[in-house]
Symmetry: C3
Subunit: 342 residues, 3 copies
């Protein structure tokens, strides 16, 4: 049997390191496609000239292109037989990725817990993306529920101790990033770090209706091979499940309208894909300011944001019901850190 059937719960060993296949060189082509797939308008990633005015040698590859590329590489080894993508934690972007860089990815199994049914288990992995020099560019933890191939004895339960959020002191600001001469007119947003108050909520207003062709183009671009995104025969209604990362990128791009100053993602504290997204859904987004922090870089502050993607009205700020469960219109609840001009 030469075909990869994916790993099952009993195939993971605590401490095991899995080298993911297919290194990938990113170029201006991926950047252009990112702009076609998402209404992304952040000036730092859109313009070499703007990036230079902020101390960088050129516009880096969008932070979420890096995330999707590294995540996509992990799919054949981690989530091909996943029942659910349960969460993210301790995500940090560690250095910029430039057009021409080649990314590889590796995961370490850091937790295992068989479910009481004996049919599935939860696997925690820390996935690290590296550039062609072997330097880490992104690291994050995710955990997934994976089927067992056959019922059997449970491994020792190890649940990793994960931080509720990345500490501001552990955020990595790209070397030489300097917002001292930041041009608010070109960036498209008069508001700076000091203008965002903890607890403030922003309705991003705009909406995008998802088409099958679009989310499949995006998901393939990241070499994500999970069948549910591509194969209409897997569901009676012929619809394909939209890759959760597609919703992350849609919501992040929509958040430009009100958060255009949120130039670079540096931390991923947590995230829940609360309900599935399908073609025909109109995705909107709202944000909440969770925390603020200073950084040592000139003119650079950090905001911790909640980014919520919904089907329907983003102005209702839908999140959870009285039972503490996500409302059915909520697609995504993401908790992340961004760098913002002070």
């Amino acid at each position: 049997m030469k075909t990869n059937a994916g790993r099952f719960f009993e195939d993971y060993r605590l401490g095991e390191r899995i080298v993911h296949a297919v290194p990938r060189t990113l170029s201006g082509g991926e950047r252009a496609l990112y702009h076609a797939l998402y209404p992304a308008r952040g000036a730092l990633h859109s313009s070499d000239a703007f990036a230079r005015s902020c101390g960088l040698p050129a516009a880096p590859v969008d932070d979420l292109i890096v995330f999707h590329t590294v995540f996509g590489k992990s799919v054949p080894d981690i989530s091909l037989n996943a029942v659910a993508n349960l969460g993210y934690a301790e995500g940090r972007w560690l250095r910029p990725v430039w057009p021409g860089d080649t990314l590889t990815a590796e995961s370490e199994v850091i937790g295992l817990k068989q479910n009481s049914s004996g049919k599935t288990g939860v696997v925690w992995v820390r996935t690290t993306g590296r550039n062609q020099h072997g330097a880490p560019v992104l690291s994050f933890v995710r955990w997934v529920m994976v089927r067992r191939r056959a019922e059997g004895a449970a491994p020792e339960t190890v649940v990793p101790d994960l931080a509720d959020a990345v500490a501001a002191s552990e955020l990595v600001v790209p070397k030489e990033l300097d917002f001292s001469n930041y041009d608010v007119a070109l960036a498209g947003e008069p508001h700076r770090w000091a203008d965002y108050a903890i607890g403030e909520r922003i309705d991003h207003v705009d909406g995008v209706t998802v088409e099958e062709a679009e989310h499949m183009l995006a998901t393939r671009l990241w070499q994500n091979t999970a069948r549910v995104h591509f194969d209409a025969a897997l569901r009676e209604d012929g619809r394909r499940l939209v890759y959760g990362g597609h919703v992350i990128s849609l919501a992040r791009a929509l958040s430009f309208n009100g958060l255009a100053s949120a130039q670079a993602i540096v931390g991923l504290n947590g995230g829940v894909h609360a309900n599935p997204c399908f073609s025909g859904d109109t995705v909107r987004a709202w944000s909440e300011v969770l925390d603020r922090a200073e950084t040592a870089a000139p003119g650079v502050g950090a905001l911790r944001l909640r980014l919520v993607a919904v089907k329907g009205d983003s102005g209702a700020f839908a999140l959870k019901g009285e039972d503490g469960k996500y409302l059915p219109e909520v697609l995504l609840d993401l908790d992340y850190w961004v760098l913002v001009p002070r």
Copy 2:
């Protein structure tokens, strides 16, 4: 309120200069996407080698990529609350844009006229795109009907005096462009400047049926944020209005079949989006030769063309009815100058 709600009629002041946000670096990625989105086959923009044989250092970015990028930047400030895009005039391409160039855009308000209803007004702007050196690459006038936020006193009416067409003497031929060694076989068209007669009409024959995913990819690529193109909830039938510029690029690309010699757009004399285009429409095109001019560049002539996009049969040369109004199958009536080998 941190979200951009767009400007309303009373927010414009005559003579005001508006710097549009989000500079954009263009690369081979945008060129590849342009070829995927439109059946573009012009040799000058498709091939570095062909461009070099015409005296240029490499293939420039397609003239309409430049137009869409500059236009898209102006949308959040000019047409987010527009009821209608009324016209174009005095458009001139001023120098080539090369892969790696970064474009910015700025508009000057050159006319204002409140409508008698008091609920809307017409705003005329001259929009200029510049490269990273600050050199202008494109300038054009457009006027839009914009809603008032609230009824109120009308500003002084100023209607700019616009040329019916760009004078041939004002067309800018790219520096060093030389069609002396132009290869008609590689260009795909035996006909040269002298073969096109004023009044001649050409049916471009081919048709392309528009899909939602395609026009949304295109419109996002130009960072055009107008909601009507993306949000199915805005119309009862769930269809999204196709960006008028998408129809311009479709028609221009279709016109290759009969006008493959029309290598570079240098002037935009006028244009009307006569009827809306929706997914499912099959777009066809026909052209009429309006004028001919010589240029000082070696082997380079200019043709003034009418380019008409229609739904249905392009061989019927549909345009206006006996009442002088555009027929319902007409999508676009564009008047522009192109450079053609003599």
Copy 3:
């Protein structure tokens, strides 16, 4: 009449050389789009770093991008009035194409045979793609059934003598390709040349449901102008015929799952588009090992493979019925040579 109506059977002369129009420069943009359009994951074409570890200066452009680009150029001259694309033979990739290279294409008419009806005829052409230095990068024979414009006398029948398969000794291994240090973990496949036995069949398991927008984006990207792919008005059901090359690329990309070692296509022995493909079809693939050969390059072996694309279950290995005819679920039967690490 300035519009290209395409050639008819009586327009071809034996021995005639046809220069195809519109040279094309390929870049990282085309590579990125290829990854978005197909689930392609071959490490050699995905990663500059992996390609360097195999002795090459960078990742070459995917072999099928080269095929589609050269094929697309030939369409306006060869198959615009084709009733059917009947076959391929003697295809050889002759040197790698690098981002930045410009391709041109030329065809020689090597066979003609009018059908007994007098309304159509078969045209055989040998099409050659060249880079900007004039060096051939790809050569293949294809034959198509073309309509006559009007009934008339048949030309002398000449049917070329074509090889059943490219001889292994005639395969061209890219200069400096060296699989001695091939990394199976990064490539995503533990199996090497010696692990594939003649007669072995592999079910590639995964499926992709085709959307109209996707196959039109792809087909335009290769500047293929055949109307049946784009114009919904040509069929009562409004569906557009999927370009046969789109199915080739889909099937080749799907074959990664079980054949990730099949790094580079070097020979095309034959191919039949057995049934038409339409949007909504879910394409799957299976392969059969037809032959094995050694090469003189270090660590490089060759496999001759049959690649079959089907609608429906690839695990049934559907091919032909008892009558020797292709089963209705078979879309493609391709016979090709690939280079594989030994």
